[in-house]
Amino acid sequence: FQLGRKIDENFLEELEEKLITADVGVETTLYLISSLRESYKNKEIENKEAILDFLKETLKKKLSKKENTIARASEGPTVILVAGVNGVGKTTSIAKLTYYFSQEGKKVILAASDTFRAAAIEQLEKWAQRLDVDIIKQKMGADPAAVAFDAIEAAVARKADILIVDTAGRLHTQKNLMQELGKISRVMKKKIPDAPHEVLLVLDSTTGQNAIVQAKQFDEVISLTGIFLTKLDGTAKGGVVLAIQNQLETPVKFIGLGEQYEDIEVFDGERFVDALFS
């Protein structure tokens, strides 16, 4: 047995391709591959056959360290702010969260704070009807922060357990819209100082490396507490969440697996890693 044995470079190249095509990204991939090389050299890995399992275990450990439960208010309604870029699945994910909490017996109320996009309020309203929950809304063009504030007052008055606030899609490059998002969050604190208790960034699993800067920029204005990763019923792997976890420590809390409100699952790091390599 030679000292400092060399790893099979061809196999590593295959792994590199697997990780990159899963959207894990160059930087994180190189980091994972080089630490695999180190571990192999230090005999932490038995043999070539054990390399892939070792990598999977390493990733699973990293992901399982993360807290993926929803923060709850110690008293009064728990407020969840949902944000993200355009078309990622925010409104649909809110329907899913409503279903999830309703199953727990919680009273959920919704805030239609997307007052910009055509039929955004109608879309959330239809979900509220299907799920039989109250919705607080104003006219299209109203101040989103005012709607959020109204909703908090209603949630307190109606003794709701959970208030979920839907916001308009916005690109992190739109400074004024990012400021608007920060304002929505601050205005809620006027009524409930700890609100929002949970701030979820909705990410589309088909998104590539731009997801990292999205997470960073949204985190800067509203301090993210978790990620809702959508459209995992497709062929995209959503590997970019590994890079986000590395750099920002934001955990994935839920995943979306379809267009109906039942298509939600609590994030399971083990299954995610297995699916990444399948």
């Binding site: 055509a118 299907r130 731009n210 497709g234």
Partner: protein, 291 residues
């Protein structure tokens, strides 16, 4: 104009002035990293740099004094040619209403693009008809109706019919409504959803579109080739609309799509409002991808 990062790569690597096989290799590696960071598909990036390498080594670059500039030109031109030639045409029917069909994954921007396309066509003197063929997403019909109202464009909708029937009827009624272009807004769907992909085939069969456009989100990562391939295989695409390019995504999906969708990117979405549709510019895209 070539992006700064690319200039830096070449300036640093070729600082000695002379091009050698060794520093070409180094430059190629860095370009490959830049492409992958820009979401260019792994396989597409591999093929691309192989082509660049062959050209660079084959063109007697090593001897030339203007080697560095030549190398930069090779990479840039190769990128542009991968995405070009420029074709932003819309096919118009001779004796009946022209049909434009928008298809794509969920949330890519189809409905908004339908509105933008209608506005674009009005400017060119046409009279479009918008068709609300998404009957499953809550509020989808209302969304298109609001866009139609904003533009003064009629919207055809029948919430209780199937999408193929809605589209067929709309096309048949177009001339009665004095409309010369019919824009079909379809529901977002996964390329692996057999039933929904079959439905799209049905719509195509019934309406014989003159233009089938794949609407793709420009921030799509490695998965871009998978969906583009399937939509192209089933429908035969005439063009791609790349949306949300007003963001800061590098847009590497643009390279991948062109390779597998067998059709040009014709338009880009540059914002949420209905005036933000532009014709595709491969030179600007190449610069953006190189970062």
């Amino acid at each position: 104009t070539i992006s700064d990062k690319f200039q830096d790569i070449s300036r640093r690597i070729f600082s000695g002035g002379k091009l050698t096989e060794k520093n070409i290799e180094e430059a190629i590696r860095e370009i490959r990293t830049a492409l992958l960071e820009a979401d260019v598909n792994y396989g597409v990036a591999k093929t691309f740099i192989q082509r660049v390498k062959e050209k660079a080594l084959g063109e007697q670059l090593v001897k030339s004094v203007k080697a560095r500039e030549q190398f930069i030109a090779i990479v840039f031109d190769e990128l542009v040619s991968l995405m070009g030639p420029v074709d932003t045409s819309i096919s118009f029917a001779e004796k009946r209403a022209t049909v434009i069909m928008m298809a794509g994954l969920q949330g890519s921007g189809k409905t908004t693009t339908c509105g933008k396309m209608a506005k674009f066509l009005i400017k060119k003197g046409h009279r479009p008809l918008l068709v609300a063929a998404d009957i499953q997403r809550p509020g989808a019909i209302e969304q298109l109706q609001i866009l139609g109202e904003t533009l003064g464009v009629p919207v055809f909708s029948e919430p209780n019919w199937t999408p193929p029937k809605i589209c067929a009827k709309a096309v048949a009624e177009a001339s009665k409504k004095n409309c010369d272009v019919v824009i079909l807004d379809t529901a977002g769907r996964l390329h692996i959803d057999e039933g929904l992909m079959k439905e799209l085939g049905e719509i195509k069969k019934k309406t014989k579109p003159d233009n089938i456009f794949l609407v793709t989100d420009s921030m799509t990562g490695q998965d871009a080739v998978n969906s583009a391939q399937e939509f192209h295989k089933l429908l035969g695409l005439d063009g791609v609309v790349l949306t949300k390019l007003d963001g800061d995504t590098r847009g590497g999906a643009a390279l991948s799509i062109r390779e597998v969708a067998g059709c040009p990117i014709k338009f880009v979405g540059m914002g949420e409002t209905l005036d933000r549709l532009e014709e595709f510019d491969p030179q600007r895209m190449a610069s953006r991808i190189l970062g």
